[in-house]
Symmetry: C2
Subunit: 259 residues, 2 copies
């Protein structure tokens, strides 16, 4: 990136990570840890492969990314964040917090990867019942945000929702050519809220819908009836949703430290 030529720490930071795609590459490495080149491509839908290669080299030169020759079994190179790279996590968290305000308004033609849930879940939610039993919510979404907000309904017509009004059938490419819907799990227990990719072993609740609807419900930006109207389907104990609550902003750094 062309340097801003300003002796200011914000400008200096942007000289390194202000380029297009750069912070999203770092997002992937923060969320996923060591990544193969192809993992990054998959987690960054829309990026051109040459750009990814160029950015990785630039970040390596800047000391943000480390390239590691993988051990024999995998025999491929893995990309890791250096300590300096990991220090960017607070930047991503603040950006994500700020960007959440735009989530209720998807453009209708956006990609989604279930591991992106980790940011809003662990950064913006907390367990309002920290001493309660360990609980799992399985989340099923499609790979893309459907224009009309319909979720990936391949699920059976059962579920807690009164059928009818909800998912008006025509999800654009239901017969996906790719590997089908994405599954992630939100785990509550011990006062923590985490998320991970993959199916739950014994989910207390399964929610299925388009990414905006699912996220809207999780973040309490959408009421359940409203979400159902937009295609949400649920199976299991809805109390798990109430346990998740939006976390109030923790002020830190900008003002006076408390003595």
């Amino acid at each position: 990136m062309r340097s801003y030529g300003q002796y200011c720490s914000v400008a200096k930071a942007l000289d390194v990570v202000g380029d297009r795609w750069t912070l999203l590459i770092i997002r992937e490495l923060v969320l996923q840890g060591g990544c193969r080149y192809t993992d990054l491509l998959h987690g960054l839908p829309g990026i051109a492969t040459n750009l990814l290669a160029v950015r990785l080299r630039e970040l390596e030169d800047a000391g943000v990314v480390r390239r590691e020759a993988a051990p024999p079994p995998v025999a491929t190179t893995l990309f890791h964040l250096t300590d300096a790279g990991l220090d960017l996590k607070p930047v991503l968290l603040e950006l994500g917090r700020w960007g959440t305000r735009f989530m209720p308004f998807p453009s209708g033609d956006e990609s989604f990867r279930s591991h992106w849930l980790e940011f809003p879940v662990s950064n913006l939610l907390f367990d309002s019942e920290p001493t309660g039993p360990a609980t799992e919510i399985e989340v099923r979404t499609g790979h893309d945000v459907a224009p009309d907000g319909a979720g990936p309904d391949g699920a059976g017509p059962d579920g807690a929702s009164p059928d009818g009004a909800g998912p008006d059938g025509a999800s654009p490419d239901d017969g996906d050519a790719d590997d089908g819907d994405q599954v992630a799990v939100i785990e509550m227990g011990g006062g923590e809220v985490r998320s991970r990719v993959g199916p739950a072993t014994l989910p207390d609740l399964v929610i299925t819908g388009s990414p905006p609807v699912v996220l809207g419900v999780l973040m309490h930006m959408l009421t359940l009836p409203e979400a159902r109207r937009r295609g949400l389907r649920t199976t299991g104990n809805l109390g798990a949703l109430d346990r998740l609550q939006p976390r109030p902003r923790v002020e830190a750094g900008s003002t006076t430290p408390s003595s």
Copy 2:
């Protein structure tokens, strides 16, 4: 900016503020409050005027910036941040904190504006003697970072010149073509550390030097003798410097709340 097309809050945020210059424009508005167009141009050395106009319009459309017709006395338009824009301050603080690691290595051809001091000073320092008397440090720097790190005074080869250039008065008078050196004040008192642009009324200490040297001393990244070797000049009570201490990182948000 071309949207990333990803349903992720970080990507959404970058859709709005990820463009080149955008976050620096917001930096100016955070630091200076309401700005005239020309104030912004001056605080953003290197930006093209058309880009500034375009960005301001985009930010206005995004609801980050508000354009206000000024009252009769000034009769000009002022640019303000909206509440959504002010919410970006934590992002800037984290970026600035991360970028601080690059400050010891100026490229040697960079612009400097004294109001940029506010970020490192209020975000990264604290008053180790909060009950002490109110104290002012006057900071004098040039507009640019000299390649060799010499101060704005034309750099007499000696170090700690006991010469008569006192706090009150004689502008260092380098042969600068522009409006002379910049003066800012760092104020300690009541447990707070702040900075503002302009001369001090009764400074306890005056430090003069190039921006990297001055910042190096303030942040304790440079020892005093080392700083003097690089052109720092001081007049007054050096104890004021010891009162300023780097603030340890306040963890917030990324991990479990401390219950």
